[in-house]
């Protein structure tokens, strides 16, 4: 390949990529954040800087990992060109008839984890709680951000609105509890029961502890908000059932630390996102692709007739 062609391939990949990063960053930075209850807006600014940086690191790390895959055999040209080729094929695939099959493979094997269920119900349940919890939490986050910051949906904003109580308070606590339950099972299994097939090295321990700290930090923050009667946490607090339980254990006057804890929780969540491509958590991205590859390519090796 000529140098000119190579640079062109690089430009075609990196320009849209950085444009995408810029758009994401601008969305993050320009949202109004009216319902973020930190009193000192410097904390909000610090969080926004950290989340923009961490999201950037996440996407760059992911791109770098994928470009390492692209150095393998089976495709032609420079890694960037190979990736572009695959992205192009992928976009056409979305419109093809096989997409339905890919979707069913994704739902059955990547989300529902059907094979794991056949082998160990406990581990399947544990994974489903963690994975399902995070996915639903992410979707809820999108929904809440959209309804709060874009359409200013009042029932989502007002203290006693149905959407505020059932979605922002109850549903978030529910999915957070699911993740917490899954993580607790994982931690007890890994650190207490230590089954023979489990091998705990530093990356395994860091991932699980990191996740636990982020999820527990969320409930702790909510507990502080309720105990300190921070705006947004003043009426019908029992809808945030787990946060409410945490608040019962909080000392008086804890509300004054709400901003600091909010920032710590926010930065830790951002760091967790940045950590994904460099940790075992990257399997969250690679495993569904492997499952799709198996589901779609195994047709070729289908049972002999």
């Amino acid at each position: 390949m000529t140098e000119g062609r190579y640079l062109k391939d690089k430009a075609w990949l990196y320009l849209p990529f950085f444009l995408f990063l810029l758009v994401i960053s601008l969305i993050i930075l320009l949202l109004p954040y009216d319902t973020v209850y930190v009193r000192d807006r410097t904390y909000l600014a610090a969080f926004l800087v950290s989340i923009v940086l961490c999201v950037g690191v996440f996407f760059l790390g992911t791109l770098y990992n994928v470009l390492v895959w692209m150095q393998g055999k089976g495709l032609e040209g420079a890694p960037e060109r190979r990736l572009l080729h695959l992205l192009w094929k992928g976009s056409r695939f979305v419109l093809s008839r096989r997409f339905g099959r890919a979707l069913s493979v994704f739902l059955k094997d990547a989300l529902y984890l059907s094979r794991l269920k056949d082998r160990s119900v406990l581990r399947w349940f544990m994974h489903l709680m963690i994975l399902g919890g995070f996915i639903v939490m992410f979707l809820l986050d999108l929904l809440v951000t959209f309804s709060l910051d874009f359409v200013k949906y009042q029932p989502m904003i007002s203290e006693d609105g149905w959407a505020k109580l059932w979605i922002r308070d109850f549903a978030f606590d529910l999915v957070g509890s699911m993740v917490l339950l899954g993580l607790c099972i994982a931690a007890v299994r890994r650190f207490v029961f230590k089954p023979k097939i489990v091998r705990t090295e530093l990356p395994d321990a860091v991932s699980i502890v990191f996740l636990l700290l982020v999820v527990l930090g969320g409930f702790l923050l909510e507990g502080i908000g309720i105990a300190g009667r921070i705006p947004g946490h003043e009426v019908n607090v029992s809808y945030s059932f787990l946060g409410y339980l945490f608040s019962l254990a909080m000392p008086a006057g804890v509300g004054q630390y709400y901003d600091q804890v909010w920032l710590i929780h926010g930065v830790m969540s951002a760091l967790l996102i940045a950590y994904i491509p460099f940790s075992k958590l990257f399997h969250m991205i690679a495993s569904p692709i492997a499952i799709e590859a198996d589901g779609l390519l195994s047709n070729k090796e289908a049972r002999a007739t």
Binding site: G61, W69, L116, H283, A290, I291, D294
Partner: protein, 405 residues
């Protein structure tokens, strides 16, 4: 500093290394890394993590920023050796929650090791030389390949497919053709085909090694040469079917050859063809064999090709024969320990695994342990003899021949 060349690892394999969740499901049932010996590096998870650690230290982000790390030669050699302590049985593929196609991964890992001058192992080199020089792994002259058919030349019409047109091409395979202890497998298959009046022939002394051993040990270029020779002969003969009695040849011709060239004929295993002949009443097992039989699924036939029902249907069609299943059967079947070059390089390990499979068979109370693969037959028979077991080892075609006599 030795820089690893990852361009020999498949794009899909590199993605799969990252998709491993480190759950360890594969370690419990891995016959070589988990059951016969407790060595993490031999298990699928161990190999994946170690190789990923190596190539990431030279190609990862840290390597890009701070420069690639040198990997000590002894660590590379250890990985190479451990990677060959795998029978490529595919049990890990069956259990992997991330659906990693580990069969492809291990074969590709070996190709990568060969490309990086870390393999093949010295124990495999002799076999490889034999295939390259004699077209068989047994150091036997080409002229002896069709010797097995002399015993039945008056009884069964085995055509020379290169001279006479025939409907079915019987690809005998090196082990059945050359190993005097396995030769009956070829003889019995030919007898069974003859009894059903199948119009069949062989490539005689021109048949070459299918290349399975070369492919499984990572020698892709040599395997391609073997495959191309055979494919040219298949196209010259142009039969409707190619039938093999060897599970390894079946996997290679059916799955690997189409990646290397065009095979026009339909490739079937003897169990498929014979099963159909029995179903169509062209072959009627009539003589009783009063015994309990258990079937060992060869990995290349079962997990690699999903042929589980055909051999069982054949056994159930034989009067008097009662099929009893081992606890681990079909997709969960325990490997015999011989595949993937393990028997050649690590005979003690292979023997240990075969002994475990024999114990599985003994627990069923079976009188006969049947299979459909010359390697499984060889290793299980040796394990039965070593254990002094009362169980008789039998090839499936042997039982069909007995019943159709």
């Amino acid at each position: 500093m030795k820089k690893l060349d990852i361009s020999k690892l498949d794009v899909l394999a590199l993605m799969r290394y990252d998709a491993c969740t480190r759950c360890g499901e594969c370690t419990a049932t891995c016959p070589t890394g988990g059951e016969a010996q407790d060595v993490e590096l031999v298990t699928p998870r161990g190999k994946i993590l170690r190789l990923r650690e190596f190539y990431r230290s030279q190609y990862g982000l840290r390597a890009r920023l701070l420069g690639p790390k040198d990997i000590p030669e002894d660590q590379l050699k250890e990985l190479a050796s451990r990677a060959y302590e795998c029978t490529i049985c595919g049990q890990c593929k069956t259990v992997c929650p991330a659906h990693l196609d580990t069969i492809e991964m291990w074969e590709n890992m070996r190709e990568f090791l060969v490309a990086n001058n870390l393999a093949p192992l010295p124990a495999h080199e002799e076999i490889i030389k034999s295939i390259e020089n004699y077209d068989n792994p047994w150091m036997q002259p080409r002229t002896q390949r069709s010797r097995w058919s002399k015993r039945i030349e008056k009884e069964v019409k085995v055509k020379d497919a290169l001279k006479e047109r025939c409907e079915v091409l019987f690809f005998v395979g090196c082990t059945a053709a050359y190993d005097p202890n396995i030769r009956d497998m070829a003889v019995d298959t030919a007898r069974v085909l003859g009894s059903a009046r199948v119009d069949f022939g062989t490539l005689g002394n021109d048949e070459g090694c299918c290349g399975s051993t070369l492919l499984r040990t990572g020698l892709i270029d040599s395997a391609k040469k073997s495959a191309e020779k055979n494919i040219a002969l298949f196209e010259k003969v142009s039969p409707s079917f190619i039938v093999t009695s060897c599970a390894g040849c079946y996997k290679t011709i059916r799955q690997d050859y189409p990646r290397l060239g065009k095979v026009s004929a339909k490739v079937v295993h003897a169990t498929q063809l014979v099963g159909e002949l029995i179903e169509d009443k062209k072959l009627v097992p009539s003589k009783r064999i009063d015994a309990k039989v258990t079937f060992h699924d060869p990995c290349h036939l079962g997990r690699h090709n999903k042929l589980y029902d055909e051999p069982r249907k054949i056994l159930e069609s034989i009067p008097g024969l009662k099929l009893v299943e081992m606890e681990r059967t079909r997709e969960e079947s325990r490997c015999c320990g011989a595949g993937g070059g393990v028997k050649t390089a690590f005979p003690d390990l292979a023997q240990k695994i075969a002994a475990m499979r024999v114990e599985d068979a003994e627990k069923t109370g079976a009188d006969i342990l049947a299979t459909s693969c010359p390697f499984c037959y060889q290793s299980l028979k040796a394990a039965l003899e070593a254990k002094g077991s009362r169980i008789r080892m039998a090839d499936l075609m042997e039982l069909v021949r007995e019943s159709c006599a």
